[in-house]
Every structure is written in C-alpha cells, then in structure tokens.
C-alpha cells in the first residue's frame, strides 16, 4: 500500500473502530487521540516525501501530492491533531455537564475522522471531479458535527450549512464539467483531461472565454464553501452553534481546502487567460469580503460569531492577496492559509475554555477573565493579536507581504483599502478583547479557576506555532510555499 492510500485509509479505519467501540468515555477518547496521532504522522510523512523528492502520484495519477497540496496537508496534520486532542477535553466537559451522552460522543469522534478523511481526499485528488466530490463530502461529513445538539438553533445551523454549501458547490460542479470538456477539446485524451496535472500543463491552449466562465463558476462554488462574501452567510451561524473544536476544524482546515480548489482554478485560468483577469476578480471578491465581514464583526458580542466573522475576513485577506498577485501576493495567500489555520484553531479552542468559565458566549456578560484564568486569557490575547496582524505573530508575516506586494506593484489604492479594513478589524477586536478580559465579571462565573495545564496544552502548542511561524523562517515549510507559488505562477 502506498503512502497516499494510507492517509485515506487510516482515518476511515479509525472512524470504523470508534463507531464499533464500547460506549466508554476513556476508551473512546484514547482511541480518538491515537488514531489522530497516527493519521497526522502519516500525513507529515507524505509532506516529507514531497520535500525530498517532489510531486508524486498514486492510482494511475488519480491521487497526487505536490508542494501546494503538501502545505494543506500540514494544516490537516497539525491543526487536525491538536484540535482533536482538545476535543477530548472539551467533550469531557460537555459530557460531565450532560449536554451530550456517550452515543453522541462516539458518533462525534467517529465523524471527526470521516471529516479528516474527506478533507485529506480533497487535497490529494488529482482528478477534478473527485476533488469536487470530496469537498462536497466534507459538508456531508461535518453537518452532524455542527448540529450535534438537537435543539432549534443547532438544527437551523445544520440546515443552513448543508443548503448553502450544496447550492454553492453545484456551481463548482458545473465549473468542473466545463473544465473537463474544455481540456478534452484541446488534449483529445479522456483519460487525462480530468487530471489537474494535465490541465495545468495544457492550460495555455485552453479556450480563454470558457476559462473565464469556469473561473467565475468555481469562485461562486468553492467561494461559498470558503466563506467569501456575499455567500458567507452560513459561516457565522455554523461556527456559533458547533462545538468549539469543530469550529476550529471548520475554520482552521476546511475553509482552506476550498481555498486550495480556488487556488488551482486561479492557476489554470491565469495560465489560460491572463493574471490580470484572475487578479481583478479576486481583488473585487477579497475587498467585498473584507468590508462586509469587517462591518458585521464590529457589532458581534458573541465570541464565537466574532471569530466566525474573522474567518470570513481572513478568507477575504487570502482572496485579496491573490488579487494583488505576483510572487509576493501568492506567497502571502498560501502562507496566510497556514497562519490563519493555527490562529483560528487557537481562537476557537480558547472559546471552549471561555464558555466553560462563563457558561455563555456573550462577551457583554464576561469580564475579569485575566484574574480567573490568566493562561486562557493569554491564549485568547495571542489569538486576537495574531488575527489583527500584530508583529511576531504568524498572520503579521502574510499581511506584511500583502502590503509589500501591493506597494512593489504600485497598487496604492488597493493598499489603502486593505489598511482601512485591517484598522476596522483591529478596533473591533481589541474592544471585544478588553470587554471579556478586564474589569469585573458582569455575569455569572461557572468555573472560577484556570483549566489544568494538560487541558490547556493544545492551546499552548498552537500559540507556540503561531509565534514560531511569526518569528522564524521555517525553512522546510517556506520551501513548500515557494514551490507552491511556482506551481501557481506556472514557472
């Protein structure tokens, strides 16, 4: 069995074991962590293979892993594992407070691994139709993770999630079918016309007008899933209702899988038409997303909705970076995927701690968190600092590169818009952070002490990663990103 097949089989086997396991909290949690750990190691082994020997294929080129895909496998491996680790802690609290039972817990753990499987498949599919099917499957696998509770709000979030993403992805399927036909017209080879590698290598000969339509369809489709405005509306509702670790997985990993699809369509369309076309579309999409989400962000008092709007904002940043274009812009976009993944995972996991302390997600009812739980407050602060682009945190790197890329290419008006959007986010975030962290508690405090060190460990590790990627030049990862940029730029 080759290593690409292994990373698909491991989570599925893990899910099967969990679905068949005894209904015992400790057993389920241990299996969950072990399967996550093994899967993540296997994922990182594949990333290592790419670093050592470049792109490799499996199953008659049906599956492949290039540097661009490897960046996203890193997210699934690291963010996925740390969030799954935090899941066992968060779910224990939910279980102790009788919000869920062991049957729900078993289903939750099992579905987490099915979810990881679908995301992994979407990243390593060389076949465009299977990549679409995998991204659609991510919705199907995660809908009951989001709607784990059976109340009105939870059901509503699940409904909105599946409906909006399904409509959006239908457009992406049209883009997929049309891209195949356009490629087949050029290559006359039905076996390879659905493979990214073939499409990319023959992109220069593809029909320009058709590619423009395909890109617009793909942007509507995968953009809905990625959370780009105006089809982002499912995202705040889903994040607000899902358990904190699921919000972390959705925001930290899932959105990036859809973004990877957009990146691939961006590369093909740019090669077939021009970079000016895709850049202008992405610039418009990114700017609209930044401002729409920024405005909604200001008036959010629910900590999870606030971070959900942040996800939309940062998808806007990625789109904007692609709009700026050039090697710097594309580098920033890919790096931002990683920076945002770790940051958002930390942010949502810290909301799990916060919800335990106050029993609410409404920040107007919090206050004084620094005295109750200083470590959680520091983690929360680190997430907020990174999200607004404070230096020494990972997101600063990519946002700085966006500024640099825009200035180098003379896009001053775009830079001004970007700066205004970031200022809005900065003000909104720190006012919210102060509301929750300082002063006296304004509402009830259910858990009047800090979490144990072991419970905070996944958060601390995520925080360390954010700082590491904000301060150091992590050579191996930067190599992957640089090679990813070359793939997109068609170099």
């Amino acid at each position: 069995m080759d290593s690409l097949t292994l990373i698909l089989i491991l989570p599925l086997v893990g899910a099967l074991i969990l679905f068949l396991s005894s209904k015992n909290y400790a057993t389920l949690s241990i299996i969950h962590v072990i399967v996550s750990g093994i899967t993540s190691l296997a994922l990182l082994f594949n990333v290592y293979k790419v670093l050592v020997s470049g792109t490799f294929f499996s199953y008659d080129k049906f599956l492949f892993l290039d540097s661009l895909g490897a960046v996203f496998l890193v997210l699934i491996a690291i963010t996925g594992f740390l969030v799954n680790l935090y899941s066992t802690i968060y779910m224990r609290w939910e279980f102790e407070e009788k919000h869920i039972n062991l049957v729900d817990l078993r289903r939750y753990y099992g579905l987490c691994h099915v979810f990881i499987f679908t995301m992994t498949l979407s990243v390593i599919c060389n076949n465009i139709a299977f990549m679409w099917a995998a991204i659609e499957a991510t919705t199907l696998a995660s809908v009951f993770l989001v709607a784990i509770h059976k109340d009105k709000k939870s059901t509503e979030s699940g409904y909105k999630y599946i409906v909006l993403c399904s409509i959006g992805l239908a457009f992406a399927l049209y883009a997929t079918v049309l891209l195949y036909s356009v490629t087949f017209t050029t290559t006359q080879n039905s076996d390879t016309a659905m493979l990214w590698t073939t499409i990319m290598s023959s992109a220069k000969g593809l029909n320009e007008n058709a590619m423009k339509l395909i890109f617009v369809f793909a942007l509507i489709g995968f953009g809905t899933k990625a959370g780009l405005a105006p089809t982002h509306t499912w995202l705040p509702d889903v994040h607000a209702q899902g358990p904190a670790p699921i919000s972390a997985l959705l925001s930290g990993v899932l959105l990036k899988c859809a973004m990877l699809a957009i990146l691939r369509y961006y590369a093909v369309t740019a090669s077939a038409t021009s970079f000016e076309f895709v850049q202008s579309i992405m610039l418009i999409s990114g700017t609209i997303t930044l401002f729409v989400a920024g405005i909604f962000l200001i008036r959010q008092h629910d900590v999870k909705r606030m971070f959900a709007y942040h996800s939309v904002v940062h998808m806007g940043v990625i789109a904007f970076a692609l709009g700026i274009g050039g090697e710097l812009g594309v580098f920033a976009a890919i790096f931002h995927c990683l920076a945002h993944s770790f940051t958002k995972a930390l942010a949502f996991c810290s909301t799990g701690n916060i919800a335990r302390i106050y029993g609410t997600k409404d920040m107007t009812k919090m206050g004084g968190m620094i005295k109750i739980a200083p470590v959680t407050t520091i983690m929360f602060a680190a997430a907020v600092c990174s999200l607004v682009g404070v230096p020494a945190f990972a997101i600063f790197v990519s946002e700085f590169l966006v500024f640099k890329g825009a200035i180098v290419t003379g896009q001053y008006f775009a830079v001004a818009l970007f700066a205004i959007a970031l200022a809005i986010i900065f003000i909104a975030d720190f006012s919210h952070f102060n509301m929750a962290s300082f002063g006296e508690p304004k509402g009830e405090v259910l858990h009047n002490k800090e979490m144990k060190f072991i419970e905070n460990l996944p958060l601390i590790l995520l925080c360390v990663l954010i700082i590491v990627f904000g301060v150091w030049h992590v050579d191996s990862f930067f190599t992957l990103v640089e090679n990813g940029v070359k793939i997109i730029m068609g170099v």
Partner: protein, 214 residues
C-alpha cells in the same frame, strides 16, 4: 423534432411540476418520472452516439435516482405525515413563473458556450439540462418547504447529470459513481435533518428558521 428533444422538453416541464405542485407526494412522483426520462435520454444518447458508458450510467441512475431517492423521500413524507408544502416566497403561482422565466433566460444565455465544448452537441437537451439545474437553484431560494428544498437539490443534480452526460460522458466511470454517491448521501442527510427540523419547529417551513440571524 426528434424523440430525444421531446424528452428534453419533458424534463423542463416536469421540473416546473416538481417545483410548482403543492402536493408533496405528487411532487416526488413527478421527480421520479423526470428521472425516468433522464434514464431514457441516457439510453437514447448511448445508442445514437455509441456512447456505451451512458448505458451503464442509465442503469446506475435507474436504481439510485428512480428507485432509491424517491423511496427515501416517500418514507420521509410518510414519517412526518405532511401533505402539502408551506406557502413559498412570492406565493404559489408567482414563484414558478419567476423560476421558469429566469431559468430559461439563463439557460439560453449560457448554452452556446457549453455547446461549443460539448461532446454530444444536442442543443435542446443542453438547454434542458441548464434549465433543470437552475429550477433547482431557484427551488432552494423560492420554496420554503424543507422537502421541496430536498427536491430542488435533486432537480439540480438531474440537471448536472444531464450536462455531464453531454459534456463528459467519456470521463472515468468512477467520476459518475463519486458524484452519484455524494448525491445519495446528501439526500439521506437532508432527510434526517428535515425530521429533526420538524421536531424542533413543528413544521417544515424553513422561513421559521430565524434564530441565528445577524
């Protein structure tokens, strides 16, 4: 006019019926009929253009979309004991007119691009495929009943499958299987959500889902 074109027009008409009929059982029945027409079109295209893959698609589509999906939906309707759909956006009479008008307009405007790259250049069938797809999209937007929205999903799946048959029938057989599998899982999951929705709201009217705005 050839038989295949007549069947394509029948798909447009049945999509209007699935969209517009108030009785849910009747809507599901018409959907099954539409899928049967789709299977017939697959078979005829397979013979006419020697596209043997489409023969296999027809068999798979018959079992999954003519038998399995309607069965799931009939079971859902029986379990929830609902007969008619809830008042749609714009009313029962206006919404089908809007949906069909816009769907045909969109289909007429984009089919020339599709036709240029289509492996099977059947103009009317291609227009029907896009129209049925758009009727599905409008079904999601304009109909409030959860079951009608599941049917809308099924409609745009039919539209996409017809497009796929015309534009990419020679693609790997696993592709069709993957897309079909996704669609069936989606219908099952939506049906489970519909049951939960009915229990939570005591209705299938999705316009009542307003707890999460803002």
């Amino acid at each position: 006019m050839e038989m295949i074109d007549i069947l394509a027009i029948c798909m447009i008409v049945t999509s209007l019926a699935v969209f517009g009929l108030r009785n849910l059982k009747l809507s599901v029945g018409i959907y099954a009929l539409q899928t049967m027409i789709l299977v017939s079109i697959f078979t005829m295209l397979s013979v006419k253009f020697s596209a043997h893959q489409l023969g296999m698609w027809a068999v798979v589509a018959f079992f999954t979309k003519v038998v399995l999906v309607p069965t799931i939906l009939f079971c859902l309707i029986k379990k929830l004991s609902v007969i008619s759909e809830d008042e749609p956006v714009g009313g029962f009479f206006v919404s089908p007119v809007i949906a069909m008008g816009f769907s045909l307009a969109i289909a007429m405007s984009i089919y020339p691009i599709f036709l240029e790259f289509s492996l099977i250049k059947e103009k009317i069938v291609l227009i029907a495929a896009v129209t049925v797809f758009m009727m599905g999209v409008f079904g999601f937007m304009l109909r409030n009943s959860f079951i009608k929205q599941i049917l809308a999903y099924c409609l745009f799946e039919n539209g996409i499958h017809l497009t796929l048959a015309l534009m990419a029938y020679n693609s790997h057989e696993l592709v069709e299987l993957g897309i079909l599998t996704d669609a069936i899982f989606a219908v099952i999951i939506m049906s489970i959500l519909a049951i939960r929705f009915y229990k939570a709201y005591d209705s299938l009217d999705t316009s009542k889902a307003t707890n999460l705005r803002g």
